[in-house]
C-alpha cells in the first residue's frame, strides 16, 4: 500500500505516492531524480546523505520519505543560485576541498548549517561540526580549510553581484 507525500525540495513542491519503506534519500535520488545526495553507508555513520530538513542537517538514509511529509528540504542541488556557486561550493573549488567527491555534498550541506549558526567559525568549530561526516580521501585538511575560507568568500560574492547589477 502506498502513501501520499508532499515535500518541498529546493523551493519546488513535490508530491508523490510512495511505498512506506522508501527512504528519504531514495525519494530524492530515484523519485525526483536529484542524485547529488549520496549513500555511503546507510547506517547513519558517514554523513554523505546529509540534507537540510527545515534548516537542520539530517542524515537522509535513516529517515522515511513519509516522515518528511510537509517538510522543506535543501539538497546540494539547491545551493547554487543563478548559475553561481554557493560560497562554500566556491571555496571547495578554490581550496581543493575534494578528491573523489563522494563525501562532498554531505560535507557542504553540513557546512552550510555550521556557518549559519556560527558567523565566525574557527578551524576547531568546523572540525567539531563535521564529526558526523567521514571522508576516505582527503584527510580532512582541505575540507576544513575550504569551510573556514568560505566565510570570507561570502562578501566577495556580494560585491560580484553588485557589479553585475550596475553593468
Amino acid at each position: 500500500m502506498t502513501m501520499p507525500v508532499s515535500i518541498t525540495v529546493n523551493g519546488t513542491e513535490t508530491s508523490h505516492e510512495v511505498e512506506p519503506r522508501l527512504l528519504l534519500v531514495h525519494y530524492l535520488r530515484d523519485v525526483i531524480g536529484l542524485t547529488g545526495t549520496n549513500v555511503g553507508c546507510d547506517t547513519s555513520q558517514c554523513g554523505s546523505c546529509t540534507v537540510l530538513i527545515d534548516g537542520l542537517a539530517v542524515k537522509s538514509c535513516t529517515v522515511l520519505a513519509v516522515q518528511g511529509d510537509g517538510s522543506d528540504i535543501t539538497t546540494i542541488e539547491g545551493l547554487a543560485k543563478n548559475g553561481e556557486l554557493h560560497p562554500i561550493q566556491q571555496a571547495f573549488w578554490d581550496n581543493h576541498g575534494l578528491q573523489c567527491g563522494f563525501c562532498t555534498p554531505g560535507m557542504i550541506i553540513t557546512a552550510t548549517e555550521i556557518l549559519k549558526k556560527n558567523k565566525k567559525a574557527t578551524e576547531q568549530d568546523v572540525r567539531h561540526g563535521l564529526e558526523g561526516n567521514i571522508c576516505r580521501c582527503t584527510g580532512y585538511e582541505n575540507i576544513v580549510k575550504s569551510i573556514v575560507a568560505a566565510q570570507s568568500v561570502a562578501p566577495a560574492k556580494k560585491a560580484g553581484k553588485a557589479k553585475k547589477g550596475t553593468a
Binding site: 547513519s44 513519509v66 558526523g132
Partner: protein, 279 residues
Amino acid sequence: MKVLRPHSVDDALELYERHPDAVPLAGGTDFMVAWNGGSENGRLILDLSALASWRRIRDTPSMLRLGALVTHWQLQQETLVKKKFPLLVDACATIGGRQIQSRGTLGGNIANASPAGDTFAPLAVYDARVRLRSAAGRRKLPFMDVFAGVKKTHLRPGELIELVELDFPKKPARQFFRKVGTRSASAISKTVAAGLLWLRRDGTVRELRFALGSMAPTVRRLYSVESFLLGKKPTPRVVKEAVALLEADVDPIDDLRSTRFYRMEVSRNLLRAFLRSGS
C-alpha cells in the same frame, strides 16, 4: 513495512492499543539503522513524528516538562534548560554528530534503553520523572525505575513515553559531566559520569548525587558513595574512602568497546576528580 502516521496524540494511543506489536518511531536514529540492517523487516511502524505537541518544552514555577519528541539539538538551544540543567545540555552536545542531534529525541534515547544512553547519567542526578501514556491513562515512573535491563524498559504494551519532568534544583556548589569515549559521532561511550554536590556553610556535604552510565546494564546512581559522604567534609582521606566504595554500586562488563578493569579505573578517576574539584 506498513507505517501508521497519526497527527494527534489520541489517535496515536488508540492505534497503539489496537496494534500493540507496532514499533513506535521517533527520530529513527536508533531504529532506522536496525531496520536498514534488515533485522526489523516487515514491522508495523507507529510514526510519532507528526505529534507536534510532544515536541515542546514547557515550564511551570517548579519544573520543566520536556516532550518525548524534543530533540538533542532543541535541548541545547533552550535558555531555561541551559541555565537549570546544564549537565543534560552537555550530554546532548556529545551525542552523535550534529545530524544525529537534530533528529534523535529524548524519548527515543530513554525508550531505547541502551546501557550507553548518554542522557541517562544527567537525568539520574536531576531525579527526573518519566510520564507514560496509553489509551488506558497516564502513569509516572521515577527515572531510575524505567529500565529493566539492557534494551529493556518497564513500559507496558500500548504505552508511550509522553514527557520527562525535571524539578528545578537549588543551585549546586559543584556540577560535573564527563563522557569518556572515542570518536563521539560513531562511538558509544565507555563511561559517562554526572554529578551534583550541595555543601553546607561549614563545608560538609548537604547532598551528593552521582551517576555513571555504561558501567552496568543500566545507569547507576552511586547510592553507597552518596550516603557515605553525607555530612562529611570531602577531604582527601574521605574522598579516598568514598572512591573505594564505588565497587559496591556498579558492576561493569567486558565488551567489545572496553574492559571491566578500564571502566572501573576511569570511574574511580572521574569520581575523585569531581569530589576534589573544589579543593
